[in-house]
């Protein structure tokens, strides 16, 4: 079943009197029980997509248009703010990128976690027992993400806790409401390998046991490829390639995907130590200086005259790519 279906999502913002397309025709489909990875470098609009889905962008500064943006058949864009909030509250939970900024500095962690618990999911109880049940649930959640002495932890405030523990706490908070979709915005950033593996294992276990879908936003390809089923690659606000992870890894059609895969040394077993890594020249364009057409154009080794026109997505066996000269057209 399709949970989230986004087609041609375009997001414009005003920069120096001009409307700039920060997201340009993004397509994204998430099925139930699937871990979908969203890969892109900073400034490619990963976090903007997340915010557009949950409706966390104020309408005044942004223009959001989409052919469709459906959550289980209901149109998210045309429904009332109230209704959308209800859906987002009960079905979608987000692990935001920067835990210290997204937690309330004035409430202790226990209160914040209790607020996000779904009361309907607690066992049948009378109202005076509610707090007791909540406490039990909080304890269970913290142990699940690997936070040990919960009693002391719950009384502390966000600034007293190191950021990698807070990151785990954010995961616990996301699990608290028993969501159908977890959007994880770079949940393993800056973690060392063991706690990263722990979080990844936890997320994939939640996915298997409860059939929860996960939208995994990151640029850590190692983490992504260890757990996800599908992958969407973004470059500067355009979807570059979408497909099953195995297919993409085996054979990428878009030059950018290939460059991304090549840039991680752990992906290549045959790479001798200290040899230069393959890279694309140049850096990611800023929003003020977006190139026309295919935005990879100025950096792309295969760019030609036609690349000033935005390529339309093409499809081979459920594997979408948008490029005028994809990698499998070797000779032409």
């Amino acid at each position: 079943m399709i949970l989230l279906d986004v087609k041609n999502l375009t997001l414009e913002l005003e920069l120096a009197g001009e409307w700039v397309k920060a997201l340009d025709k993004i397509n994204l489909v998430i099925n139930q029980g699937q871990i979908h990875a969203l890969v892109g470098e900073s400034g490619s609009g990963k976090s903007l997509i997340v915010k557009a889905i949950v409706g966390a962008l104020p309408n005044k500064r942004w223009k959001i248009t989409a052919d469709r943006m459906n959550w289980r058949g209901q149109d998210l864009l045309s429904m009332s703010v109230q209704k959308r909030r209800e859906i987002v509250k009960s079905d979608i939970s987000v692990i935001f990128q920067n835990p210290i900024n997204s937690l309330d500095p004035l409430l202790n962690l226990g209160d914040q976690l209790k607020q996000s618990i779904n009361i309907a999911a607690l066992p049948k109880h009378l109202f005076w027992q509610r707090n007791q049940y909540k406490n039990r649930r909080v304890e269970e959640l913290l142990h699940r993400v690997g936070i040990k002495n919960h009693e002391r932890f719950l009384k502390t405030y966000p600034h007293q806790i190191p950021s990698n523990l807070l990151q785990k706490f954010m995961v616990a908070m996301a699990l608290a409401s028993d969501p159908k979709l977890i959007i994880a915005d770079d949940p393993t950033r800056g973690m060392e390998v063991t706690s990263k593996a722990q979080i990844l294992r936890l997320l994939s276990r939640v996915n298997q046991v409860k059939d929860t879908s996960i939208l995994f936003v990151s640029h850590d390809l190692l983490a992504i490829s260890s757990m996800s089923h599908c992958m969407t690659v973004l470059y500067s606000g355009q979807t570059v390639e979408t497909g099953e992870l195995q297919q993409l890894r085996k054979r990428a059609y878009h030059p950018y995907t290939q460059a991304l895969l090549d840039s991680a040394p752990s992906f290549r077993k045959d790479l001798p130590p200290k040899s230069p890594l393959t890279t694309l020249a140049g850096t990611i364009p800023t929003l003020h200086h977006l190139p026309i057409g295919c935005r990879l154009g100025p950096r792309c080794p295969r760019a030609r005259k036609e690349c000033v026109v935005t390529p339309s997505p093409r499809k081979i066996h459920g594997h979408y790519y948008s490029c005028h000269y994809p990698l499998h057209w070797a000779g032409r």
């Binding site: 470098e41 900073s42 190191p162 990698n164 800056g190 973690m191 060392e192 390998v193 063991t194 990263k196 593996a197 990844l200 640029h219 390809l221 190692l222 983490a223 490829s225 260890s226 757990m227 890894r249 460059a259 991304l260 840039s263 991680a264 040394p265 752990s266 992906f267 790479l271 130590p273 200290k274 230069p276 890594l277 393959t278 890279t279 694309l280 850096t283 990611i284 800023t286």
Partner: protein, 261 residues
């Protein structure tokens, strides 16, 4: 001869209150290692294991409570402070935060030259141009302010800041963590190239074991302020001895292997 020798360096962080004896909060060391010219040493370990502190001790931001650092066989002490500023330079974790937003890149790079060398204005300017070109920027970038640069360029400026005094050793605290994949491999290539050309000793802290394996010659594993294991990269990666190292390498291998089946 070794480029840098670190012998039994220790550091103790003490809290003393009125009427109570001083209490040691964190103790580091003893740390021993040596590094040849052109070699790379990686420091890995958990958060809070004292990696950044060790880096700070090496560049002289903190003074060790005992032990010594020898550079080319000469002890670095306060008497040789100027030499230390010259020969060991640091790249900080957060390249945005370590650049001054109020002055141009050129002014930022000129500062260490004014403080540590006797060059005149002309020589300083040409030195700045050369260094900017060395790290792959243009001469014109010296007129830029911090906010006009992209992430990769900021990292390059941070590197130029470290290179401007022709150091022998560069100490970097997570230089690749905040970078995107494509910019990251550019920086890795740049550092490896510079190391080859200039014979720099490079000491860096990283969480990314893939890069550590690719770049480093030697590894130092730290846990709770103590060095628990050190040695050649492929020895550590193939035959780790300590439990902590085994766990670290195993999880990394699992992540890597899980993509191939």
């Amino acid at each position: 001869m070794d480029l840098i020798n670190v012998e039994n360096i220790r550091f103790e962080d003490k809290i003393s209150r009125l009427f109570t004896p001083a209490r040691t909060v964190f103790s580091l060391g003893p740390v021993n290692f040596d590094l040849q010219a052109g070699e790379t040493l990686a420091i890995i370990g958990d958060n809070g294991s004292g990696k950044s502190l060790l880096a700070k001790l090496l560049v002289g931001l903190e003074t060790p409570s005992s032990g010594k650092i020898l550079l080319n066989g000469l002890a670095l002490s306060t008497a040789h402070h100027k030499q230390k500023c010259h020969d060991i330079r640091m790249i900080f974790q957060n390249s945005t935060g370590s650049l001054n937003p109020g002055i141009t890149v050129g002014a930022m790079l000129e500062e260490p030259l004014i403080l540590n060398t006797e060059l005149n204005v002309q020589e300083r300017l040409s030195k700045i141009d050369n260094t900017l070109r060395l790290v792959g920027l243009l001469d014109d970038h010296k007129f830029f302010y911090r906010h006009m640069l992209s992430d990769g360029q900021k990292q390059r400026v941070a590197l130029a800041k470290a290179l401007i005094l022709d150091p022998k050793v560069i100490v970097a605290d997570e230089p690749f963590a905040a970078l995107d994949p494509s910019v990251r491999s550019q920086t890795v290539n740049l550092l490896m190239g510079l190391q080859r050309d200039l014979g720099l000793g490079f000491i860096f802290i990283s969480h990314n074991l893939g890069i550590v394996r690719h770049v480093a010659d030697k590894i130092l594993v730290m846990e709770n302020g103590a060095v628990i294991e050190s040695g050649k990269t492929d020895v550590i990666f193939n035959w780790p001895k300590e439990d902590y190292t085994k766990r670290l390498i195993e999880t990394h291998q699992q992540l890597v292997n899980s993509q191939y089946n």
